[in-house]
Symmetry: C2
Subunit: 221 residues, 2 copies
Amino acid sequence: MKTRDKIIQASIELFNDQGERNVTTNHIAAHLAISPGNLYYHFRNKEDIILSIYEEYARSLLLETLPKVSAEVKPLDSLVLYMDSVFQTTMKFRFFYSNLPVLLDKNPSLREKYVEVQQSISERVSQLLISLRAAEIIDFPDDSLADIVSILRLINTFWVSFYQTQTIVNEVNDSVFYQGVLKILVILRPYTKTHAINELNQACELYQQRYQEAVEALSLA
Amino acid sequence: MKTRDKIIQASIELFNDQGERNVTTNHIAAHLAISPGNLYYHFRNKEDIILSIYEEYARSLLLETLPKVSAEVKPLDSLVLYMDSVFQTTMKFRFFYSNLPVLLDKNPSLREKYVEVQQSISERVSQLLISLRAAEIIDFPDDSLADIVSILRLINTFWVSFYQTQTIVNEVNDSVFYQGVLKILVILRPYTKTHAINELNQACELYQQRYQEAVEALSLA
C-alpha cells in the first residue's frame, strides 16, 4: 500500500476510534511510524486528510452505490439496498457524520463537494420514490415528495449519530445500520399500498433477522 | 447579572457564532473583559461551562416545556407546541447539537444528564402520541409507537444540523425551526384519520405562514 493510502486508512481508523478532534497529524504519523515531514509531503494538514477521505472514499461510495432505476431490480429492493449502503457508509465514516456541521464550517472545499453530492443523492432518492409510486408499491401526493426525500436523507445522515447519543455506553456495530434501514421502512409503511404490504413486510423481516444475527454475533464475540 | 451568568450567556453566543471548537476559555474571558482567573473561579474548564449550559438552560427548557396531557388543550396542539419549543431550544443551543456525539464522548457527566433527559422526552412524546390516538386524530399499531417516537426525536435533535449542511452558505434564522415543525407534521400526516385531516392542515397552514413571515422579515432586514 502506498504511504498516502496508509495515511488515509490509519486516519479513518483513528478518527473513528478516538474522535477526529483528539487525533493530530503527529498522532497519525506516530501510529504509522513515519516522520511528520513524510506525512506533510502528502497532506498539508488534517483538514486536507479529511477532504481526501471524503473525496476519495465517502463520496465515491455514496455515488457509486446510487442505484440505477432498471427493469431487473424490484423498485423496493433498489431503495432498500441503497439505504443499506448509505448507512454502511455513515458507519464506516462515523467520525465525519458525528460533527458534520462543524467539519463543513471549517473547510469550504469540503462543504462544496458535500453539498454537490447531497444534491445528486436527493435527485436519485426522488427518482426511486417516483418509480416506487409508478410500480404502485407506495402512493404520495406530488407536493409531499421533497419533504419525504428530506426526511429519508436526514435519517440517513444522522441515524448513527442519534444512536450514539441515546445510551451511556457509546458502542456501534453492524446492528446499528440494520436498525437504520428498519427506520426507513417505518417511514415508507403508511404510504405503502395494501397489495404491496407483504413485500414491505418481507423487507422488514429480512432486516429484523440481520439485526438479530448481528446482535447475537456480538454477544458471542 | 452575576459573573457566572454573564460567562454562560457569552459562551452560548460565542459558541453559536464561532463554533464551540474555535472558542477557548481565554476568548470568553477576553470577550467579557474579565481575567482568566476570574473565569476559572466559576468554571474548571470549557467542558464545565458546556455542562452548566446544558444543566441550567437546555435541560430545563426541554423539560419545562414538556406539555401536560390535559383536557384543556387539544392533543394535536400539545404536540405541535411541544415540537415548536424543542426546535427553538435546538436553535438556541445549536453549537451543542451540531457536534453532539463528540461533546457527549468528551464529557461523561454531560452524557449521563443528556441520556436521562432523552428518556423523559421519549416517554412524554409516547404519551402525546397515545393521547392523539385516543382522541382519534391519528392511528398507528402499538408495535410502531417506539419507532415513530425515535423518528420524531431524531428529527427534533438533528433538523437544525441537517439544515446547516445542505447549502453553501450556512445561515440559520427563525424560518429554520418553523420548517422543522412542518417536517413533524409530514411524519404525522399519513397516520392522520380522515375526519382530522382539516385540523392537521390548519396546523400546517399556520406554520407555513410563520415560515413565510420569517423569510420575509429576513429579506427586509
